[in-house]
């Protein structure tokens, strides 16, 4: 295993250039894969566009795909919708509807309101409207207030930071123990550690929950944070794999100089292991941000200490008919993990490869 910052693994040999069939294959492959990537990301586009629409727009099947509003016109102090009106001479004019009638309706020409109403024969319901791009940024402000976003954000970040500190501390110690010390039962214990990955959570949930109830911890952050300080298989594995690549010469030298094991960890190992520490920190932060079940069961009924995801789920329960608000909430919830991912995407992929392939 190489450092986290290492270049991407070598790709297969470059295809020979120039031959036309190679160019065609290249074009087909690239177009097909681009299409798949585009389809894969389209839900984010859907969500972002929906979050900027008005309720009137998405309930209108003829409305355009971009966030827009039907054009209106101010006439004698009132606001009227503008429609495309086919005229008897075959042309189409954009007119504001000022009187709705079943058989005929009155319109005014926004370009020449002084001319007065024009009566048009036919049902106005058959007419279509011109739309103008008009993103509703106010939807975000509305969600911000309605779900008390600052409080949820604070809870989410606080939980993620404390959980990350606990995980990094405990997993570093445990990984150091497994990587640098020989002790009877080490292989068995390490296998047992990895086996916990495959254990269904349901088989430990009931007594654990009952214990937390008896301790009076349910309704506090403790059931979510305390386990983080006792290490987990994925992160211990990740750190151990990295520590195994650090040469032992320096820690042996430190030991000869009389440094304690803990001192060696602090001043020799950690300065060399920071890439994996950063990786585990980012991983844990994002996983903690995305944890839903833990907060759901342990913080039920305590709205003031819940993180974003649970808040978002409740918000959906109340406002599920307001699709634009739900999608704005989704975008707000995913913004920070997605930005972190964009900044550290190489760290993510390296970590996934190590825990997924090398085990």
């Amino acid at each position: 295993m190489t450092a986290f910052a290492a270049a991407t693994p070598s790709r297969p040999l470059q295809a020979p250039r120039r031959r036309p069939e190679v160019l065609i294959r290249r074009a087909i492959m690239t177009v097909v894969m681009s299409g798949i990537v585009f389809a894969f990301l389209s839900p984010i586009g859907y969500s972002a566009l929906m979050s900027l629409k008005t309720e009137a727009q998405y309930s209108d099947p003829d409305a355009p795909i971009l966030p827009s509003e039907a054009r209106t016109f101010e006439y004698q102090g009132e606001s009227y919708d503008v429609y495309y009106v086919p005229m008897p001479d075959g042309s189409t004019r954009e007119l504001a509807l000022v009187r709705k009638g079943r058989q005929d309706s009155d319109f005014v020409d926004p370009a020449d309101p002084a001319a007065g109403p024009i009566t048009w024969q036919g049902s106005w319901r058959t007419l279509s409207q011109p739309w103008e791009i008009a993103p509703q940024w106010g939807n975000y402000a509305e969600v911000w207030d309605k779900i008390d976003f600052p409080r949820l954000l604070f809870n989410t970040i606080a939980l993620a930071i404390i959980g990350t500190i606990g995980t990094v501390l405990s997993c570093t110690l445990v990984a150091y123990g497994f990587a640098r010390f020989r002790f009877p039962g080490r292989g068995l214990l390490f296998t047992l550690l990895l086996a916990t990955i495959f254990l269904p959570a349901a088989v430990t949930l009931i007594p654990t929950y009952t214990l937390f109830v008896k301790l009076g911890w349910v309704g506090t952050w403790l059931p979510l944070l305390a386990p983080a300080f006792f290490a987990n298989a994925y992160d211990v594995f990740l750190i151990r794999q990295y520590l195994l690549t650090i040469p032992r010469d320096l820690d042996e030298a430190a030991a000869i100089d009389g440094a304690s094991a803990f001192r060696t960890l602090r001043s020799v190992i950690l300065p060399q292991a920071w890439p994996v520490i950063v990786a585990v920190s980012i991983f844990t932060f994002v996983y903690s941000w995305n944890d839903f079940f833990g907060p759901l069961i342990y913080l039920a009924g305590h709205d003031d200490i819940q993180p974003l995801q649970v808040g978002l789920s409740h918000f959906n329960g109340i406002y599920h008919t307001r699709a634009e608000l739900i999608q704005a909430g989704n975008i707000m919830t995913m913004l920070i993990p997605v930005i972190l991912f964009a900044m550290f995407q190489r760290v993510f992929t390296r970590g996934i490869v190590i825990t997924g392939v090398e085990k």
Binding site: P9, S10, R11, P12, L13, A15, V22, R26, M29, T30, M33, I36, V37, L41, P43, I44, Y46, Y58, F178, F181, R182, F183, P184, G185, L188, L189, I197, F198, L199, P200, A201, A202, V203, T204, P207, T208, Y209, T210, V213, F230, A231, N290, L308, V310, L312, S313, A323, I326, Q327, N330, I331, T333, M334, P337, V338, F341, F348, T349, G356, V357
Partner: protein
């Protein structure tokens, strides 16, 4: 579970007990071992407190009539919970739902990342690393946000149905409200999170020595023959690992319908998955003992399927280092 006593001895062993078993352990080695145990102590304590003891307690619970409120006096009731389980139609319906969903989801969750990784690994593809990053991105979208985005996408006039209408399906389904289309809809949602699987498969593909392909080409193997005889056998350990983890996860599947349907099991009881039933037995009815019995049944089923897969793996999985 059989490892437990060994673990306990390892933790409690005094230096003297050591010497009995390992007379050759020098004082220096003993010091090293002591330090090693000290460093892994956080995990050992956590393992005992949050895994081993709760697992054992869950098993003990199954033989009692424990509830959170405990209105009836606590008593040992032997195998009554298991007898109740055998006659509980809701349990078997929810298990059947889970297995049915698993039979759709598992092949998809193995094949889709594998095929996407094959595509990304193609030497004809331009922009592979950007595409890899973009395909992985939905994996970091918070779970609830992802579910609610897809709930909109699969809505009656969401983008999926818009595309289907353009493709000529005049009356596309209301995915999330249709007993036939709910599982395909949930599978589509699940596909959004295959980014990690793509990365793992891609790393595996890039680890296959190119000599193997060269040798195959010299033997006259075409694209398909190379895929069948080189790629798939060399990838089998990764496919196997993904499958085992997939089985464990899919048997516990229930959070997506919990968010979408608030645990009602709609439409038509199709989203009453085994773990939802377990969750409700525990949290809604607060029946600890019966919930524990259901948890052990789930664990047993997971274990049996995993063991069968491991037995099969001896025949179908190729480990390069082994003879």
């Amino acid at each position: 579970m059989e490892e437990l006593p060994v673990l306990a001895t390892a933790r409690l062993t005094s230096p003297r007990a050591w010497r009995l078993r390992r007379p050759h352990l020098t004082p220096l080695a003993r010091r090293e071992a002591r330090q090693g145990y000290l460093f892994i102590l956080p995990w050992i304590v956590g393992f005992l407190a949050f895994t081993a003891v709760p697992m054992f307690a869950t098993l003990v619970f199954t033989f009692f009539n424990l509830t959170l409120a405990q209105e009836e006096p606590l008593s040992f009731i032997g195998l009554d919970n298991y007898a109740r389980l055998a006659g509980d139609a809701r349990v078997w319906t929810s298990l059947a739902n889970t297995l049915k969903f698993a039979s759709i989801w598992l092949p998809v969750s193995i094949l889709v990342p594998f095929v996407l990784a094959l595509g990304l690994n193609s030497r004809y593809l331009l922009g592979s690393s950007v595409m890899r990053t973009l395909l992985f991105m939905p994996y970091v979208v918070p779970f609830v946000a992802g579910v609610l985005i897809w709930n909109g996408m699969l809505g009656e006039d969401g983008w999926i149905n818009k595309v289907l209408e353009l493709a000529g399906w005049s009356n596309p389904p209301a995915w999330m409200f249709d007993t036939t289309f709910i599982y395909p809809g949930l599978v589509l949602m699940g596909i959004w999170g295959v980014g990690a699987g793509v990365i793992i498969n891609l790393a595996g593909l890039r680890g296959i020595p190119t000599e193997l392909y060269e040798a195959a080409r010299i033997d006259g193997a075409g694209w398909w023959a190379q895929l069948r005889n080189v790629t798939v056998p060399m990838m089998s350990p990764i496919i196997f690992y993904t499958l085992i983890l997939g089985v464990v996860e899919v048997l516990q599947y229930f959070l997506v319908p919990l968010v979408l349907k608030n645990g009602t099991g709609e439409p038509g009881g199709t989203t009453l998955f085994y773990n939802l039933n377990l969750y409700q037995t525990f949290f809604t009815f607060q029946d600890l003992s019966y919930g524990a019995t259901m948890a052990w049944l789930l664990f047993g089923i997971t274990l049996v399927i995993t063991l069968i897969l491991f037995a099969l793996s001896r025949r179908y999985v190729y480990y390069a280092g082994e003879r």
